[in-house]
Amino acid sequence: TVGAVAVDCHGNVACATSTGGITAKRVGRVGDSPIIGSGAYCDNNYGAASATGHGENIMKVTLSRHVLYLIQQGLTPQAAADKSIEYMFERVKGTGGVIVVGNKGDIGYNFNTKRMAWASLKCNTLKYGLNPGDEFVSDF
């Protein structure tokens, strides 16, 4: 699965998620990716989120909408990412990851799988990583 979230200079947010599924999945099985609120969700009032991971569990907690709910409650995008992944594991033992951008441009991400490839770009600063704790930085 792949995804992107962004905020533009007018304060508009957007999100997109796309997947090629799971090897040997049942014909017709659909995961979280195309489900609005699960695989992705955004609202200019709060921000945008895109999810990846075990689709059935992500759908059970509507992960991306849950991230925006937490921002609505006053959490930062990073705290919302952290709490939403924690919540998914606590409630359904779900594993996966999420990327977030707030409507003011603050960035967040988290995952509880072994790895997640991620990158962010803001103020000409590129950050990226793969393993837990990675945060490589370079100028763009």
Partner: protein
């Protein structure tokens, strides 16, 4: 407001032989999206372009790097959404197109619906003039090898992923 973009290339136990290509692919996608934002483009155009880049990169499980289902076909899903009016479009179990995210955007912009699936999604793609591509162009040797492994040992999806502790789409 300073524009910003964040990308992911999937959360799972990414093997070492995919690690460097995965890191590079997400950086490229971020740069593609950011260039659009930096030149005054919309967040919607930025996320679409970034995801198209990832769909075109066979290291990622989307578009050209898709997996095969139990009968050896490709079924892809995608969604796109914008935050000003909460408009959204998505496609599910769509086959034989290169960039499902582009089709999702067309669902959002050219129909009164939010989701099109399966045969209906493919009929809509044809109506929109989207080129049909072969299954072979969407599946890597690695994905085909994984599928043959499943067929040979008849491991269910849940058994396999639970044993590795990294279930993922």
């Amino acid at each position: 407001l300073q524009p910003a973009i964040v990308i992911h290339g999937g959360a799972w136990a990414i093997p070492d032989n995919f690690a460097e290509a995965s890191k590079l692919g997400v950086q490229i996608a971020a740069k593609i999206g950011y260039k659009i934002l930096h030149s005054g483009g919309s967040a919607l155009d930025a996320v679409e372009a970034a995801v198209c880049s990832l769909e075109d990169d066979p290291v990622f499980d989307a578009g050209r790097g898709s997996t095969l289902n139990e009968i050896g076909e490709v079924e892809m899903d995608a969604v796109i959404m914008e935050g000003s009016e909460l408009r959204a479009g998505s496609v599910a179990a769509v086959q034989n197109i290169r960039n499902p995210v582009k089709l999702a955007r067309l669902v959002m912009e050219r129909t009164d619906h939010c989701v099109l699936v399966g045969k209906g999604a493919n009929m809509f793609a044809e109506e929109m003039g989207i080129e049909e591509v072969s299954v072979d162009s969407l599946v890597t040797d690695s994905a085909r090898h994984d599928w043959e492994h499943y067929k040979k040992f008849k491991v269910t999806v849940n058994e396999f992923f639970c044993s590795r502790g990294d279930p993922h789409d």
